[in-house]
Amino acid sequence: MRQALARRGFDGVTLLLLPAVLFVIALFIYPFFYGLDLSFHPKTGGVGLANYIRFFSDPFLYDTIGKTLMLAVPVTLLNVAFSVPVALRVRLMAKPRLLTTILVIPITLGTVLVAEGMLNYFGPRGWLNRALLEFGLSDAPLHLIHNYWGVFLSLVITGFPFTFLLTLSYVTGIDPALERAGAMLGARAWERFKLIILPLLLPGLAITFCLSFVQAFSVFPSAVLLGAPAGVTRVISVAAYTAAFEEYDYPMASAIAMIMASVQIGIVAALLGAQSLLYRGPAGGGKG
């Protein structure tokens, strides 16, 4: 018996997994199924799809999916696209520590602090607008907060470091000898990027996109603090919050959370499916 288990990779050490498994079950799996179950028990009574039907028949609710995607997709695309050249440059630096630290600081500050800073900096009486008006560069203050762009900027600032760190790890996984080999064969910098680096980086970028997208999709604090939470940045998490804590309709909030999860899973699954068509082997040039 013990040998048969050991052959399948179970032994005494496997038991050490138990606390972690219990933790995951108690804090993630159970609440998920609890919420899933709750969403099928509408507040009005009975069991059924009433909450889901309500969500998809009320434009005020189902529009939040589009609004969230309108924020999350462009922000994530921008972050991923921008992180590649920065990561390629950082890789060549002798001492990347300082730059990496500066780029990563926004993660440690947290969304709320960044939002506070942006309110002060980008606000109608903030430094930016005061400077623009003072130097005559603009006639009227730029509206960069309490609208789409406020949330957009905040997601870029807080999301970029995360995207960048992931991209950097994929970029450093590419054997530098490959680029040298390309150069020796006459490929110029752009050709080396397009034909060698990018194809090897794409699978990693797809993963990076998924993780960054999920983060951006669940935007809440900046949508409320920097956006127009009743209008253009009424994202799906705001709708869930409203249902739960303003209408005290937990089943409805659970249903919205489930819809939110399905949209994320749908997009992530589509991307990973597309990724499986790409080359996904090692990014090294051979043995050694």
């Binding site: 000898a177 490959l178 080999a181 390309g182 150069a183 006459g186 080359y279 990014a283 051979g286 043995k287």
Partner: protein, 348 residues
């Protein structure tokens, strides 16, 4: 490529510093068309730096590189058009063998039909005709090495650079690929610079060998010259003269060196006056013989099939590497000796 038909590649006092470290100190060398040059030296001697400088992957600190009368050390690697075989092959892992080999031609915007024929020809040359659609990861180490060679030579470069291309292969494959490289060089005739730390490889492949130590040229010569008459004790040590010993030299009717109590007739390389000197003898040339003047006690002996190689110590503790025709036992006292023309003497 207009650079294809060159007569000579000339390195003029090529130097490279890393901060305060001089990795290369003024290497000068002229490589003729079709010549096979080996850069030989222990690790850290600057041979890979020299190759990277030639390739254009590393800028020179001073000096220059010329292809006939065209200065090329200011050009980037992509403009030099040299072929390079990397130590870890550096094949593009996401491209098929055929695409890997055709990459250089594609960068030259050659017509598709021409690329196809030339890639097929290169694949035949390295004997990989059936592997064209595989990815590099599906090939063995030796096959990957052939792809790397084919990729470097298919553009018919004026010069092929090879950076320890066989060091990742096992002993048997290394011998096979060595023969293969010689065959490919013979059939294409493109000048080759080959970096290695293995003197057997250098001796068997090269027309001329450049021995580097501490970033400087120690000797440039044909394999026979280096093997028979190394110009410097460092080169001698590297060419298999394991017995490099301090001695005193006397110049009389013949040149004699002392080793312990023994006095031996020897061949001077660069000794002009008597006094302290350095002598070098290969283990193969130092054997027990009836009139052997050097008494030494055997420490260890290894059986090598036809003969025995061993270490013996003299009375003052000096270790000698020797060869014996017959079995010797540890503890046995031998009388070692060598022919005068096999004992080389250098100025200390």
């Amino acid at each position: 490529m207009s650079l294809r038909n060159f007569q000579a590649l000339r390195l003029d006092a090529m130097s490279r510093d890393f901060g305060s470290l001089n990795a290369l100190k003024g290497i000068s060398l002229t490589v003729g068309r079709g010549e096979f040059i080996a850069l030989l030296g222990p690790s850290g001697c600057g041979k890979s730096t020299a190759l990277n400088c030639l390739a254009g992957l590393m800028p020179l600190s001073s000096g220059s590189i010329w292809l006939d009368d065209k200065r090329i050390d200011t050009l980037g690697p992509e403009a030099r058009g040299f072929g390079m075989v990397f130590q870890n092959y550096a094949l593009f892992p996401h491209m098929s063998v055929r695409k890997n080999i055709g990459f250089g031609l594609r960068m030259q915007n050659r017509p598709k039909a021409e690329i196809e024929t030339r890639v097929a020809e290169a694949m035949r040359l390295v004997r990989l005709t059936d592997q064209g659609d595989k990815l590099p990861g599906q090939l063995s180490g030796g096959q990957q090495q052939r792809v790397a060679i084919a990729r470097a030579i298919v553009v018919e470069p004026p010069l092929v650079l090879m950076d320890e291309p066989l060091s990742n292969l096992d002993a048997k494959l290394r011998l096979e690929m060595r023969a293969e490289i010689r065959r490919i060089h013979a059939s294409l005739g493109c000048a080759t610079i080959y970096v290695t730390h293995d003197q057997d490889e250098a001796l068997s492949l090269a027309d001329r060998i450049v021995v580097l130590k501490d970033g400087q040229t120690r000797q440039i010569g044909t394999p026979a010259e280096l093997y028979g008459r190394p110009a410097h004790p460092d080169v001698a040590e590297f060419m298999g003269y394991r017995n490099v010993l301090k001695t005193k030299v006397t110049l009389g009717e013949d040149v004699r060196v002392t080793l312990g109590a023994a006095s031996l007739s020897a061949t001077p390389v660069d000794v002009t006056q008597p006094g302290p000197a350095v002598m070098a003898i290969r283990p193969e040339d130092l054997s027990p013989r009836a009139d052997g003047p050097i008494p030494a006690v055997v420490q260890t002996a290894e059986y090598r099939g036809r003969d025995f190689f061993g270490v013996a110590t003299m009375q003052d503790g000096t270790e000698l590497y020797f060869r014996a025709e017959h079995a010797v036992k540890p503890g046995e006292t031998l009388h070692l000796g060598a022919d005068p023309h096999r004992i080389l003497v250098y100025a200390a």
